[in-house]
């Protein structure tokens, strides 16, 4: 019986495979895998995108990238964004999650409010904050004037623009991380906490010794999303600063856009893409290895 079924199954599997796999396989191969492979290929050419790439330049594109001050700024900015996500956004999200995950009155309303910015498109959030930071019409300007200072144009000031961008990032994304933590907290066994309380652990001890270790997988996830999110930051920057003033708010992707795409330097832009790709891959693998070792 089971042999017959097995054989029959192998026979009947052919149509479903031929029908169900090709759409996804074609789409994914043609528009994800091939372009990434091509990025590797183009990155060794100086090419405007027309005809076939023939002007082989070896590693020159990568060398050029490494000489751009704007690219150094972009890398440093990406690191700063990651640092702020981990040192400010993550604790904030975790703290607020512990407050609104409990059954206090109004918890659900607060949760929804905190999550609200996350559902906005980056472009919309960027425009809203470019108004907030406007020296003439925005609220930061009004506050400064009320205190007797000249109105600052935060986004036009190379010393402050990045800080402003960081504010917007935390404003927009901490709610998402908070939701992750709420899901994590709800997965924690209530009796376990009760047991700790009975054993005389106070609020802080319960948090430090019981909740935090159990939230480890969620924290790991939150860190992962912060890093990957920071590495692809683009949509939010465009309405705020477009990477300016004086390249002070460039990220890797805005750098790719400004210096590769708008000038149709396919080889150079592809090389930036390859660098970003390598950063992502190295991060993903080392992070996985690191956190897996953690588990054992």
């Amino acid at each position: 019986m089971s042999v017959a079924l097995g054989r029959r199954r192998a026979w009947t599997a052919a149509p479903v495979l031929l029908l169900f796999l090709p759409p996804a396989l074609l789409l994914f191969t043609a528009l994800v895998v091939v372009p990434i492979g091509e990025a590797g290929w183009y990155s060794f050419y100086d090419w405007s995108g027309y005809g076939v790439p023939t002007n082989f330049v070896g590693w020159r594109n990568f060398f050029l990238i490494s000489r751009y001050p704007a690219f150094h700024t972009a890398l440093i900015n990406n690191l700063i964004i990651i640092a702020v996500s981990l040192c400010i956004q993550l604790p904030m999200a975790l703290g607020l999650a512990t407050l609104v995950a409990s059954r206090i009155r109004g918890a659900l309303v607060f949760r929804l409010i905190f999550f609200l910015p996350y559902i906005l498109a980056d472009v919309a959030a960027g425009l809203i904050w470019s108004f907030m930071f406007d020296g003439d019409y925005g609220i930061t300007g009004a506050i400064a004037r009320a205190l007797g200072f000249p109105a600052p144009f935060v986004l036009a000031d190379p010393n402050w623009a990045l800080v402003a961008v960081l504010v917007v990032i935390v404003w927009k994304y901490f709610g998402f991380h908070m939701m992750l933590f709420i899901a994590g907290l709800q997965g924690i066994d209530a009796p376990l906490l009760d047991a700790a309380a009975i054993d005389g652990a106070n609020r802080w001890q319960r948090f430090r010794r019981v909740i935090l270790p159990l939230l480890r997988p969620t924290i790991r996830l939150s860190v992962f999303f912060s890093v990957i999110g920071s590495l692809q930051l683009f949509d939010l920057i465009m309405p705020l600063t477009k990477g300016g003033p004086a390249d002070s708010t460039q990220t890797i992707v805005t750098f790719l856009y400004t210096f590769g795409i708008t000038r149709m330097r396919v080889g150079f832009g592809s090389a930036v893409g390859v660098v970003l790709f390598l950063i992502c891959v190295v991060f993903a693998f080392s992070y996985k290895r690191l956190t897996f070792r953690d588990d054992e």
């Binding site: 199954r9 009947t12 599997a13 149509p15 479903v16 029908l19 169900f20 796999l21 759409p23 996804a24 396989l25 789409l27 994914f28 043609a30 528009l31 994800v32 091939v34 990434i36 091509e38 990025a39 183009y42 407050l99 609104v100 206090i104 607060f110 929804l112 409010i113 905190f114 609200l116 559902i119 906005l120 498109a121 980056d122 472009v123 919309a124 425009l127 809203i128 904050w129 108004f131 907030m132 019409y137 609220i139 300007g141 009004a142 709610g175 992750l180 996830l221 949509d235 465009m238 309405p239 890797i252 790719l256 856009y257 590769g260 795409i261 390859v274 970003l276 790709f277 992502c280 891959v281």
Partner: protein, 279 residues
């Protein structure tokens, strides 16, 4: 009250104070944007955050009466719906094969798709542009829809496969003995049983596409095909000196999303954090 009672009250008060302050920080920019759309430019200068002295409905009505606003939303709706549909159907079919059909190289092919989770579309955006151009799809809706779906596939296949696998095997055996083939089983059993995950993936793909800026920016030239994130940037460029109009425009573009969010918040939150929880 006992000492313990006072302590408790203090903790609760502090807790609410933190929550209320945070909620204000979140809401002030949003409310200021909504109200700013009701002001004149002159008033915005002196009163950026308070209630408007005189409600300027014309700012909003003018935009609502303009063709460009509706065209933008229509474009976004079309692009996001088709992206969601394509991600959903191609993803669900492939995931079904990965979950229920045993074939040579299955794990390898599955891992091949998972590679897509690791990097953002930006890494390959220039070759993608060339590719779409060579397909003759530049400045068409499909030129945006196809890459967006392709980059959404990995996540959808992962979510679907895990869900499909949880469908009891007995069900499958019984259907099989009754002469039901894979394909009929997929349509008659798997899909109806998987409604929650279908909704989750649909919402996730729709929202991602609805909000996307980079891909349409690169693929589209004609303003008549711009989805709203592009359209709003053009609008802001034209009216950069008239903040009240920009604010009204922003409000009107985020309003649909906010309304849908409050109406279906449970599904949306699970949809948007699902990718995360699966990781």
């Amino acid at each position: 009250m006992t000492r313990h009672g006072w302590q408790r009250l203090l903790v609760t008060t502090a807790m609410y104070a933190v929550l209320v302050v945070m909620a204000c920080i979140i809401l002030v920019p949003l409310v200021a944007t909504l109200l700013g759309g009701f002001k004149t430019l002159g008033e915005l200068r002196t009163n950026p955050s308070g209630l408007p002295r005189e409600w300027q409905w014309d700012n909003y009505l003018g935009i609502l009466a303009s063709a460009r606003y509706w065209r933008m939303l229509g474009n976004s709706m079309l692009i996001a719906s088709l992206t969601a549909l394509l991600t959903l159907s191609a993803g669900a079919m492939a995931a079904f094969a990965f979950a229920h059909v045993r074939f040579f190289g299955r794990e390898m092919m599955f891992n091949y798709f998972l590679l897509g989770l690791m990097f953002p579309a930006a890494t390959a955006v220039l070759p993608l542009f060339i590719q779409i151009r060579d397909f003759g799809l530049l400045d068409t809706y499909w030129g945006v829809i196809l890459p967006e779906s392709a980059f959404g596939l990995a996540m959808s296949i992962l979510l679907f496969r895990d869900f499909f696998r949880a469908i009891p095997h007995d069900l499958f055996e019984a259907a099989f003995v009754d002469g039901c083939g894979y394909i009929r089983f997929f349509f008659a059993m798997t899909l109806p049983l998987s409604r929650p995950i279908l909704a989750t993936v649909a919402i996730f793909s729709f929202v991602r596409s609805w909000n996307n800026y980079l891909l349409p920016l690169i693929m589209l030239n004609s303003e008549s095909r711009y989805p709203w994130p592009l359209g709003i940037m053009v609008f802001q460029g034209e009216y950069s000196t008239e903040w009240q109009l920009v604010l009204a425009f922003v409000t009107l573009t985020i309003l649909p999303a906010v309304i849908v969010f409050f109406a279906a918040q449970k599904h949306i939150i699970s949809g948007l954090t699902a990718g995360a929880v699966k990781g």
